[in-house]
Structure formats: C-alpha cells, structure tokens
C-alpha cells in the first residue's frame, strides 16, 4: 500500500449458533435437508404464529460475551429490521438494535509478532434468512426456507484494524474462539461463519475516517485478505485520481479478484427498526452468568501459555497445537499415554501427523492413528527400540492399518540392533569395502564419513542407531 494512506477496517461476522432447533421455533437446524422440510409455520411467518426464544441460543451468546470480557446486558430487546426480500417471509428480520445481548468486549490478535487488541463493539442475536436460488427455474427464483430462523450471533468489531492481514488475523482468532466455546461449528463452506468487511482509507495522520464501503459475504480467510486489499487499492486510486468514495455495498468476485458495486444503500439502509411486540425483553440474571462462567473451557490464549509452561514447547508448536480444542486434546492424550514425552509428541504432532492429515484432507477427529497408538510409537522411539527413521516407516503402517507400534516392530523385525558386536562386524565390513571414502575421510574430508554411515545404515536396514554408528566409525578410523 502507498505509504501516505492508512486503511481502516471493521468486520461484521455472522456466526450460526450450533443449536438443534431454531432461534424462535422448534424446527431443526440440521444442514443439507431437502428444501423446505425444516421450515415450520413460525419460520414461514404464517399469520397467528408467535416466536418463542431458544434458551440455548441465549446461553451461547452469553458464553461468547463472557469469553471476550464483554458486558452482558441484564435486559436485552429484540427489534424488527424491516426490508422486503422473498427469502425473508415476514418482511422483517428479528434482530437486536438498541439493546444487544453482548456489549463492549475485545479480542487480542498477533501479527508479525506484534500483539494488538481489537475492540468488539457488540454482538447481537438474530435470525438467519432463507436461501434464494436463481438458476434453473425458467426465469423464476426458487426459495428454500430451511435456513430461515437459524440462530445467528452477529459480532461487530470496532474499526480497529489497519491492514488486510490484521483483519484476517482477527477473523481467525474469532473462528478459533467460537469453536473452542462450541457455540458454532465454524464450517465456512456451509455458511456457518460469514464475514462482511467495512473498508475505508484516509491520509496517514488524519483523525476522521474516510467514507467506507461494505464488502459482503466473503467466505474464506484467503478471500477476505484479497477482497480487502483490492478494495483498499481501489479507494486509493479513486481518490488520487480526483474521485470520491461513495458509501455502498460491494460484492467480492473471487474469479476476477475484484469488488463491484451491488446496490447503493440509499433506501436499503432505511430499516425502520422498532422493538418487536411479539417478544418480551430478555432478562439475564447474574446467576445464569455465574453458571456459564463456571463452565467456560480453557481459552486459546490460556491454553497456549500452559502448553509453553507445562510442556516446554516452542512458541510456534504451542500455537499450532492450540489452534483447535480437538487438536490440543489429542496432543495432551498422546503426552499422557506416552508417559510424558511432551516434546517428542509435539514434534510428531506438528510434523508427521499434521502433514499426513493435511495430505489426506482430514481433521484431527478423523485421524486414523489414535492418540494411544501414536503414543505407543513414541515410547519405542524414546527407549531407543527403534530409530527416528524406522519410526517413520512404523507411522505409515499405523496410518494404514490397525496394528500397534509394538506389533509392527515385532512383525517386521524393526527393532534397533543393540548388539555392539553385530554392528561392529558390519562397520568393519563397510570400511573394508569402501577404501575411497575412507581415504578421503582420513585426508580431512569430513563429509566422506556420511557416505560410510549411509552404507552401514543400509546394511543394517536402518536398524542401527545412527549416533552409535557414527561414534564407532570415528573411533575405528582414528586408529587404522
């Protein structure tokens, strides 16, 4: 970015709360059902129905509020946000306006090693709309109302971010947090976690904000970064060319990597909010807050610190292993089952295990190697039964089968050779058979030793301890 300019970014993130039933009705929220089979009379907005608030949606909102150190409104009120669109059958969305359930809070992010606190203005409960399908209906639009009434928590940040990178870091932190709290499944493909970005630019040093554009529905971390960067450049070019940014909603087109105007908000913004007479104010008692506070899980920041202190992991490994609750739990199960091999477990988890999972596009929950089986392998590395190199072979077999590490080691005869006499014989044999590298080594070319170690490891099928072999070889060659 041109250094005379500064970007100002705020995000509005819609998280679908993972309740079983809808926010105001007893219809199921399960994803992927046949169209309109989970849209009941309340969701359809038929005459005479009354919304009744789902207590679990309220609890999840409070859980989030407590986790970001926010004020929880003792009284909160639902309002109608009025607009006409066919996937919104009532002609209004039940949302919150003046008295949202979650007030001021914050979330800390880290970009390039620098910590920064991002303010969260508010988070409010609302109902999701249905889906419009514009294709294949001979000029008509198809409406599926299964999603209508799914509980959303809309989380609105302060305009505290100054780059696309910061915005993505915030979004990732938030994503991690809602999954830790188990209030949202975080599935972005299914639309459980959706992001709108408000972007403006201003000359560096200026206090007032520039006119902002809102970019709608950017549904991956990568696209958020690209869309914001595109929009920042567009606004700077516009202003430097003598133009003016207009307040509008823009849509990000991932194929073209650009944002384009969706509609000017001259009338769309006139939502005419008013308190919904169908719903009474929601009272959050201190006792409910205390109860929820007592059940809050260990949060990512605290868990990472504990992993650093308790397991002696490096910063990067601790961050990786605490990036989801499932991964952290798996790691701790491995450490426990391996009898405390914390560092070894950390290396294997961040290396081979995550590598294999990535390659197979699997989440840790679907890892074919259980924590116990992985621990079984680590124990054999730790007690020198097998070398690190052999361990990788065993891991492949653990991944592709059901045997334990001990069974694999026994079946395949992979046990490290501990009989020094046997190793010595092989070392002697290799020295005798390779006069050239021996000569090179003796004349000062240290690298030649590696060739000999390689030969010996080959002869032993990797079952000798490379450290031992190295030592033995050097001793032998010192006294020819």
């Amino acid at each position: 970015m041109n250094s005379q300019w500064e970007a100002v970014i705020g995000l509005e993130i819609h998280t679908q709360l993972s309740t079983k039933s809808k926010i105001f009705s007893g219809a199921s929220t399960a994803y992927g059902a046949e169209p309109n089979t989970q849209a009941c009379a309340v969701d359809l907005g038929l005459p005479g129905v009354l919304p009744v608030l789902n207590q679990d949606a309220v609890r999840k909102a409070v859980t989030f509020g407590l986790a970001i150190d926010a004020e929880i409104a003792p009284h909160s009120v639902f309002a109608r946000k009025n607009y006409f669109y066919p996937d919104l059958p009532k002609g209004y969305q039940i949302s919150q306006f003046e008295l949202p359930i979650v007030g001021n809070g914050h979330l800390d992010i880290e970009v390039d090693g620098v910590e920064k606190r991002i303010g969260i203005t508010r988070a409010h409960l609302e109902e999701d709309a249905g889906k419009s399908l514009h294709e294949d209906f001979h000029g008509l639009t198809g409406i599926d109302l299964n999603r209508a009434g799914t509980p959303l928590l809309e989380i609105v940040s302060e305009p505290d971010m100054r780059s696309a990178k910061e915005a993505v870091a915030y979004m990732r932190k938030l994503h991690e947090l809602v999954r830790y709290l188990e209030i949202c499944d975080g599935n972005m493909q299914e639309g459980s976690f959706r992001c709108d970005a408000n972007v403006s630019v201003r000359p560096k040093g200026q206090k007032e904000f520039g006119t902002r554009a809102e970019i709608k529905n950017i549904n991956s971390f990568r696209f958020v970064e690209k869309a914001i960067n595109y929009e920042i450049e567009r606004q700077i070019d516009l202003i430097e060319g003598g133009g003016k940014v207009v307040q509008e909603t823009r849509l990000y087109d991932a194929n073209k990597d650009e944002t384009r105007s969706m509609r000017s908000k001259e009338e769309a913004n006139d939502y005419r909010y008013f308190p919904d007479p169908d719903l009474l104010p929601v009272l959050i008692e201190e006792s409910l807050k205390a109860e929820i506070r007592a059940t809050l899980p260990e949060l990512p920041v605290a868990k990472k610190q504990r992993f650093l202190d308790q397991y002696g992991l490096d910063d990067e490994s601790a961050s990786t292993l605490t990036s989801s609750r499932e991964l952290a739990d798996f790691y701790e199960a491995v450490v426990k089952a391996s009898g405390g091999e914390a560092k070894l477990a950390g290396n294997w988890m961040t290396g081979d295990v995550l590598g294999a999972l990535n390659k197979a596009s699997l989440e840790i929950a679907a890892c074919p190697v259980s924590a116990e089986r992985l621990a079984g392998l680590l124990k054999r590395i730790a007690d020198n039964t097998i070398s690190g190199k052999i361990a990788k072979q065993v891991f492949d077999k653990l991944w592709n089968g059901t045997a334990t590490a001990d069974e694999i080691i026994a079946q395949e005869g992979l046990k490290q050779i501990t009989d020094t006499g046997a190793i010595e014989a092989i070392v002697d044999k290799v020295i005798a058979a390779n006069p050239v590298p021996v000569e090179q080594y003796l004349s000062g070319k240290d690298k030649a030793l590696m060739a000999l170690v390689g030969q010996i490891m080959k002869e032993t099928q990797g079952k000798a301890n490379p450290g031992e072999v190295n030592k033995m070889l050097m001793e032998k060659l010192r006294k020819p």
Binding site: N36, Q38, L46, Q55, L133, I143
Partner: protein
C-alpha cells in the same frame, strides 16, 4: 416536523403500500400531524424514565432447545401459488 410528498412516496415504497397520487398530500398532512405530536412528547423531561420496550411488564420466557416440528412441507405448499422441487417459486429477484 413536516413531511413532503416525496417523503410519503418513499415511505409507501419501503412499506410496499400502493397509494393513489391524489391522496399523497393528505397523507403528508396527517402523518406530519402525528409526528408533530411526537415532537411535542419529546419535549417532556424523561431523563429518569427507563425506555419501555414492551407494554407488558414481564420478561421473555425461554424454550428448551428441542426439535418439536415435523416436516409439513406438503401441507404448507398446498396454499403456495407455485412450487417446484420442494422450492417456493417467486418472480425473479437479483441483487
């Protein structure tokens, strides 16, 4: 506070109300009269009064998070003007 004919047209459009051209001035006058009353109420000192969100002095009852509704799509779609493949069909709308 005085509403213009333009304001009335815009409000009618937002609420999707069809109003006759010759009635617009009357609506503007009537609505302005209502807003004037609001302005008058606005002059009262309400600094010690909690804003009322609902006329009933009660709190919202909550329901348990249980799925209680079964699929009644056929029943509901019997009164829909047009459906196909389980979807309600409406005139084309594109943002």
């Amino acid at each position: 506070m005085s509403l213009t004919a333009n304001d009335v047209t815009k409000i009618a459009h937002l609420a999707r109300l069809g109003i006759a051209e010759q009635d617009i001035d009357n609506y503007a006058k009537d609505l302005s009269g209502i807003l004037d009353l609001m302005t008058q109420m606005g002059q009262l000192d309400t600094s010690g009064v909690t804003p009322m969100a609902h006329p009933l002095d009660q709190m919202q009852r909550l329901r348990e998070d249980i799925v209680t509704e079964t699929d009644q799509r056929e029943h509901f779609q019997a009164i829909a003007p047009q459906t196909e493949a389980g979807l309600y069909l409406v005139p084309k709308v594109i943002d």
